[in-house]
Symmetry: C2
Subunit: 208 residues, 2 copies
């Protein structure tokens, strides 16, 4: 029986893509990011993505079953990039809280450089319904790894994981309020620093 599986963003390993297919997928993601950088979520129009990446509309939908899937995959792509960058220059703070805050603010500044792209990706993430859960979850896991990296933890306690989840919540939501112009950059910074203090609470031996 021939395999019926479609190419899928999350499963980079399951169905072996041919070289041309891999190239198509890459072209699509590139076009997506490019259009997003220009005009945000609304500027990523499926017909334009298809044309820019020299792929038929039907093919685009075979690779990414919806606009949200496409943008979430774009975010995965960018996150990998960022994780690599952050790894090269680890944060230098004394406490875990400081390092996490520094890392997130660094990520935040990177997003500031491409606010439209950030808009597209974040809107897609929060608008995603259940059909995109696996992909969104993957993004979430990737973010968790980045934060744990900054904390310098290998075996976090359940309490610490909970704190990390709260930090992620804050990070996403603060990003949204900034993107929609309801909070200043300074305020985002304060909120992130505030939530990072939670980390201190979960470190038995680190107190003030």
């Amino acid at each position: 029986m021939p395999v019926e599986a479609k190419p899928e963003a999350t499963a980079r390993t399951s169905p072996p893509l041919t070289e041309r297919q891999e190239a198509r997928r890459r072209r699509i993601l590139h076009a997506s990011a490019q259009l997003a950088s220009r005009g945000g979520f609304d500027a990523v129009q499926m017909r334009e993505v298809a044309e820019s990446s020299q792929v038929a509309l039907g093919t685009l939908y075979r690779y990414f079953p919806s606009k949200v899937h496409l943008l979430v995959a774009t975010m995965q792509d960018q996150l990998e990039h960022m994780h690599g960058t952050l790894r090269k220059k680890p944060p230098g703070g004394e406490t875990a809280a400081e390092r996490v805050a520094e890392t997130l603010m660094r990520a935040f500044r990177a997003l500031q450089r491409e606010p439209h792209l950030a808009d597209a990706m974040v809107r897609a993430l929060t608008f995603a319904d259940r059909s995109v859960s696996p992909e969104v979850d993957q993004v979430s896991r990737q973010t968790t790894v980045i934060i744990l990296d900054a904390m310098g933890l290998d075996h976090p306690t359940p309490e610490q994981l909970s704190a990390v989840r709260v930090i992620e919540h804050t990070w996403h939501s603060a990003l949204i309020t900034w993107l929609s112009g309801r909070a200043s950059i300074a305020q985002v910074k304060i909120d992130i620093e505030t939530v990072c203090r939670l980390i201190d609470l979960t470190e038995p031996d680190a107190d003030r």
Copy 2:
């Protein structure tokens, strides 16, 4: 003339609405909530809302310039309701953190009873772009009031306001992860309790 429109905390904009207009507005919001309760964000179709509320499509758009505006207004409406309900039975916890957590969990359970409605409102909130900022801001302020109420504070310090903002971030984001099936109710509870511990950090004399 005798515009008897007693502003129900929803400070309508400049022009005072006539009675029939107020009635139309109310019919629209009712239809919106009803459709949302049935099938969530997607089930709120502008043509159906118009038909259900016996209003022409163009009129619907005159009252609410977009689907997101409509749903955010629906949320304002529901929030007022909830604030009233919560006020009648204030939370009974010892510390501010406990009371806030209890309040939010109570609100959460209310949303659980109408998960589709919750879905519609929250998706609209996070998907809103700049053109809806004023309305979204209003929702945010209303939420802040509810939390400060639970804390029993009249004159919060900047630090406390920051903690409240972080709690709101967590609340929204946790709601989203629950709605999209990526987190259990138990997990939401833990996250809320975790973030509420931040409150203790901002109370110099609270027991620890």
